[in-house]
Symmetry: C2
């Protein structure tokens, strides 16, 4: 198929964009892209490709922007239940204790997730994946972490595998048994850490052995934070995971700076995520490393906090900055990565071009998949968006709605925008 | 038609909700509503209505929320062009002067609007009205104000009239010739004020005489602000409009407190809008009046400002608080009022219930239309939403996507949510 006549074809060609290079869209005006099966075959000017491939089926993108599909490298999109009542209680001024007593907080989601059947988890998650896909996310990382016991955590992986195989979305799974201290280990984070290392990670390795080739290898992630896992416990879990051969991610510096991002760098993690209270030294460490710095601006927005990931400092340090939604039931339930970009422009002071690069080529790098995803270049996977806007800057500028006209995933076309009858 | 089995039917029954009364949703669980033509006939429990009207065509709302359509009482939804480049220039740190020199600012929209044909204005605006409608806004106020000359301002009204007659949305027009000082009167706001009073308002009166009965009577609005119209000029314009019989609105206290909201109260305006820098005395004046206080939280969000309309103080003073999108090309381009509500919850600290009341029954009052719109009660207009959520609190809690399953406008059904094929 030949998609042609795009007002702007954003190729994002080249490697992940470090530091001040962030925002190189490599735009072809009146651009075209030829797809062959699941792959991109040729990218270039429309007149040239139209002449060279006169017999290819055509898709006219006149007046529209064509770009790589969004890669969302950090979500908690699988969970049971919701926390809508808790959201209202907080706004009514109820205390944390009152909210806990009324059944709120992360452990309420753990309870609902444990109680949900796998079929119910799949159904609840499918609705969110569908929204995410319709809003342009063609590849989505999804973490476990609302089970906190081996059985539920593995059931979450089973559900993710089933949803990945169902598609059209592509799921990159992450094991986050270390999302919070399991209720069975209340007050004993070291005990739960030991349990993760000795029981859960080996069980994960078994799961992966059984399912290798059916989905990409799970990352292992840790919530390195006051009240969750301290630096040493995080190191124990990540080291054990690394010894088992799993790639790593770290939740670092969301509320407190414990050194999680330097830990991520020292262990060669693919990414360190959140990075709100990151120290200058940690930012320098990230800047010198290949560990991608993932900002999650929906989370401070969702919490009405004032502090966001310090994008400017990360870019000045030469870091590779990516963006993700952090989709989760507690702090930010938004499947629309376009709105995440709009928040990033306003509160992380990214330009639209920077935000787009951070959510495509750089977020692919946060999953170690920059060779396959995130740009429009020959031999990359045919994951594209056609946006119903004449200029890429409408991303960021506009917010709260869906600008996606068509999603193309592995060469398959999904029309999204419907005319109002 | 009988819409039945709603998990929650939010009737919002009763008058506009002043002060601490804000947030009374009057929920009927397992609720039903019988529509007859363009009107609501009966509201009540499903078992009762299903038994009483066995032959009515049915629409099953099981597991869903049914509520009044949103009324958006403050938008600038009609304009030519866009300001996407300006948005990026600002984020690149360009100065106001550099942006003006590159063709940015409100006057660039005035130029684009003047240059647009009426047909082009209609086409550009239709796309925004369609988005707004699909996201649940069944009645939308739209202001002129990017013409700033008689011809273009009246062409904007002509376009709004055509779009209103086309539907399915219902447009409430507002004349905002006093949106900014016209370029022809640069440095002479008093001269432009006199021109509005002596030339433009009489032309508006003529327009209205020609079109009475085809659309609701236009409001007249003024941007009372440093750099636009001072308090005395605002008074002159509003007084002239009032003498011609037009209902009034005022843009007050967006950036500076000039006394615009007390002026609105003293002239009996339907609403005072923005209200970010409103003084304590002005808040008290609003609280004692029937002038509705309209918060526009998308605007500070769009500008990444920290200050929002002080909802708590307005409610404590007994004011009638409404919410609107302020949809415009300069500060906030978001057609999704659900996202506006989500911002209001986080930054104005409204509960979901308060935000819902502020965007239905109270925003109807901001248009003086509380007798016809904004609640689900017998004899009100059949403007309803069916939301694909089990609990009203998902409004506010979730953001950035569309939770609307079906819009019903004047009894006509518009399915919105499509399954992904």
């Amino acid at each position: 198929m030949l998609i042609h006549s795009a007002a702007q074809l954003l190729t994002l060609a080249g490697p992940p964009q470090r530091g001040q290079h962030l925002g190189s869209l490599s735009i072809i005006e009146d651009g075209a892209v030829l797809l062959e099966g699941e792959r991109i075959a040729v990218v270039g000017p429309s007149p040239e490709l139209l002449a060279r491939y006169p017999d290819a089926p055509r898709l006219d993108a006149s007046g529209k922007v064509v770009m790589p599909g969004f890669v969302d490298p950090h979500t908690h999109a699988i969970w049971g239940g919701d926390r809508a009542v808790e959201f209202e209680l907080k706004l009514e001024g109820k205390t944390y204790l009152e909210i806990l007593q009324s059944g709120g907080g992360i452990l309420s989601t753990v309870t609902a997730t444990r109680q949900a059947s796998t079929a119910s988890l799949i159904a609840q998650t499918r609705a969110r994946l569908s929204q995410s896909f319709r809003h342009g996310t063609t590849t989505i990382e999804v973490k476990t972490g609302y089970g906190l016991d081996t059985d539920t955590e593995l059931r979450m992986l089973d559900a993710l595998l089933a949803l990945h195989q169902e598609g059209p979305w592509e799921i990159i799974p992450t094991f986050l048994g270390a999302h919070a201290v399991a209720p069975e280990y209340k007050g004993d984070p070291q005990g739960y850490t030991d349990h993760i290392c000795k029981v859960m990670l080996p069980a994960l390795a078994q799961w992966w052995q059984a399912h290798q080739g059916e989905i990409s290898q799970p990352f292992v992630d840790v919530f390195c934070e006051t009240g969750a896992f301290d630096l040493e416990q995080s190191r124990q879990i990540l080291t054990a995971a690394k010894q088992l051969g799993f790639p790593l991610k770290v939740h670092a510096d969301e509320f407190d700076n414990l050194g999680g991002s330097s830990l991520a760098v020292s262990l060669g993690a693919a990414s360190a995520d959140h990075l709100v209270t990151t120290s200058a030294a940690d930012i320098q460490a990230l800047g010198r490393s290949d560990t991608v710095a993932v900002g999650l601006p929906g989370t401070p927005f969702g919490l009405a906090h004032q502090e966001y990931t310090p994008a400017k400092a990360i870019l000045e340090a030469g870091g590779t900055l990516a963006l993700a939604s952090d989709l989760n039931p507690g702090t930010t339930w938004c499947e629309n990565l376009q709105t995440t970009l709009a928040i990033a422009c306003r509160y992380m002071k990214l330009t639209p071009a920077q935000a787009i690069a951070a959510a495509t080529v750089n977020s692919a790098a946060a999953l170690g998949m920059q060779d396959r995803l995130g740009t429009l270049e020959a031999d990359k996977q045919a994951d594209l968006l056609i946006l119903d806007v004449p200029d890429y800057r409408h991303l960021g500028y506009r917010y709260g709605i869906n600008l996606v006209h068509t999603v193309i995933k592995k060469g398959m076309t999904f029309p999204i925008m419907q005319e109002l009858e």
